[in-house]
């Protein structure tokens, strides 16, 4: 079996396993939907009390919010294997089994535990995109759809890259450290508001180190047809999502380095 069909087989098996416990899967999905929904309450309450912020309207912020949640929902479903690498694979020794199989390691990990519950976040994100469309009258021309899809692909690559780095860290710590939450959940939190609201040093971090702005802020400006208050030219949004793929490639570079020093925990 080729690698790609194998990946889908793994995903199918994982989904099938979760479907055996429908009540639990449903409750976790609802939990994800509500858990991500509370941030909507925060955004809404702030706009309700203070009105527009620095020329940004709630519909525009909703588009940032919706897209970044779609990105993270997909990456989180794919990257679960890297997320729990320390506790579920390294410490138990199950990682050695993966290494023995003559199939790409990354695909095995990605298909390992494809969580249904991430659908909750994805639906939340899509609902917010719909809300933004209705509020701002966004015209989903083929061009705008293409920009959104490229942005989402770049965003999934970026968040997956962060999860790969988190997994890599586990080669040293043999633990799944919650520190990566700063960049995953914290990244979602940061990217759901327009970059222009933040302090300058923080904008630099989000553009050049962890390029969240490249996959969320600039493409969304292009979709909205809004000029960047910070002065970036309009074409930036069309190419910037590529930074997500660069980040993912770099993350896999570090991953291979970590893998080389992997020594089994034995038994």
């Amino acid at each position: 079996m080729g690698s790609i069909p194998l990946f889908f087989r793994l995903v199918g098996a994982s989904l099938g396993g979760q479907a055996r416990y429908p009540a639990s899967a449903l409750m976790l999905t609802v939990g994800q939907f509500l858990g991500t929904g509370i941030e909507v309450i925060a955004v809404w309450a702030l706009f309700h009390r203070f009105g527009d912020v620095q020329g940004w309207r709630i519909g525009e912020v909703a588009l940032f919010y919706g897209l970044v949640n779609c990105m993270f929902a997909l990456a989180d479903a794919l990257g679960r294997g890297f997320d729990v690498l320390g506790t579920e694979f390294l410490r138990t020794g199950a990682f050695d089994r993966l290494l023995l199989r003559p199939r790409p390691l990354a695909l095995q990990l990605m298909g390992n535990d494809f969580r249904i519950s991430r659908l909750g976040r994805l639906l939340q994100g899509l609902a917010m995109v719909a809300f933004a469309t209705q509020q701002m009258g966004i015209a989903w021309t083929p061009g705008a759809v293409a920009i959104a899809l490229i942005a989402i692909a770049g965003g999934v690559a970026l968040f997956l890259g962060i999860l790969v780095l988190q997994g890599t860290l586990a080669f040293w710590t043999v633990e799944s450290l919650e520190i990566a939450n700063v960049l995953t959940y914290g990244g979602v939190q940061a990217a759901q508001y327009p970059l222009a609201l933040y302090a300058r040093w923080f904008r630099r971090v989000l553009t050049f180190i962890v390029p969240l702005a490249c996959v969320a802020y600039y493409p969304v400006l292009a979709i909205l047809g809004k000029a960047d208050p910070l002065g970036a030219p309009a074409w930036v949004g069309l190419v910037s999502p590529l930074a997500g793929f660069v980040f993912l490639a770099a993350a896999f570079g570090v991953w291979r380095f970590g893998l080389r020093r992997y020594a089994s925990t034995g038994s």
Binding site: A23, S24, M27, L28, V30, G31, Q32, L34, G35, G37, I38, E39, I41, A42, A45, L46, H48, R49, F50, G51, D52, V53, Q54, E175, L177, E178, I179, N181, V182, Y185, G186, Q189, A190, Y193, L197, Y198, A199, F202
Partner: protein
């Protein structure tokens, strides 16, 4: 036990349960540090967002009962006290039920509810104290030194406000423990506790004031927001800290916390008694 035992002797097993769980949990330093880093990032983003909204409101005249400095202090306080919130049951209780060790607890000549309550309180306190201390060091000391004084965690409104806050924080701990006890009972009754906490967590975050100060939610909701039990976890202590509740109002706020503790403890005690009667322990 004889009838002549002093209150101190009566309290001893519970104090010991509290202390041992407290010391045990203090060992998890890496988890505390990782959580701390996440909370700094989270708090920093919230502070920047508040600053943007307040900065803009200053020109448009939108109003809020809180100043920006208070909103920022509230944010750091909420991040520091994050693990005070009743997220999930004490994992040790769930484990005791699964392994059957719960039978030992049933054999002890102490009140099972009070024993677990003391343990859970120790579990929560040990997770909160290092985090709140780190957060205070970061937001009260490091931020001003780094030249970000306007983003810093400010001192309480006065000595009285500080003392009232401390007392209220202790009540918040007891209130949170009484809610964790309900989750513990749910775990014992083999209810789907993970599902329950998945749904309960967002509610707790919003209604405790952790997401946004309750005062920032729409004005029409304020009374209802203040009297519901979750306000006592975070929002009432914070209002005392800022001196927004004074005199009789302060006593009212503390009284509200005590009222909800009493209600939830009574309910938890009752629910646990019922669950325990139906509990079957297998093996030996």
């Amino acid at each position: 036990m004889t009838a002549a035992t002093s209150p101190r002797d009566l309290a001893r097993p519970y104090l010991a349960a509290f202390a041992s769980r407290f010391l045990q949990m203090l060992q998890y330093r890496t988890a505390a540090l990782a959580g701390f880093a996440t909370q700094c990032w989270w708090g920093g983003i919230k502070v920047m967002v508040f600053a943007a909204f307040y900065g803009h409101a200053a020109t448009t005249g939108a109003s809020s009962s809180m100043s920006l400095a208070q909103a920022i202090t509230y944010t750091w306080l909420a991040q520091g006290l994050l693990v005070l919130l009743p997220w999930l049951g004490d994992p040790e209780v769930g484990q005791a039920v699964r392994t059957g060790a719960v039978a030992y607890d049933r054999l002890r000549p102490v009140d099972a509810y009070a024993l677990w309550f003391a343990r859970s309180a120790g579990w929560i306190a040990a997770r909160v104290l290092p985090r709140v201390a780190l957060m205070a060091a970061f937001a009260m000391v490091v931020l001003p030194l780094a030249g970000l004084g306007e983003w810093a965690w400010q001192l309480p409104a006065g000595v009285a406000a500080g003392l009232a806050f401390m007392l209220s924080a202790v009540f918040a701990l007891l209130l949170s423990t009484s809610m964790v006890m309900l989750l513990n009972v749910a775990a014992t009754a083999a209810l789907n506790e993970r599902g329950i906490s998945a749904v309960a967590t967002p509610v707790v975050i919003v209604l405790s004031g952790n997401l946004l100060p309750l005062a920032m939610l729409p004005d029409g909701w304020q009374t209802a927001l203040l009297v519901q039990p979750l306000a006592g976890l975070m929002d009432i202590p914070a209002r005392l800290y800022f001196g927004q509740l004074q005199g009789w109002q302060a006593i009212g706020g503390l009284g509200l916390q005590v009222f909800w503790i009493a209600v939830l403890v009574a309910f938890g005690h009752f629910a646990m008694g019922r669950t325990m009667r139906g509990l079957q322990v297998q093996g030996g």
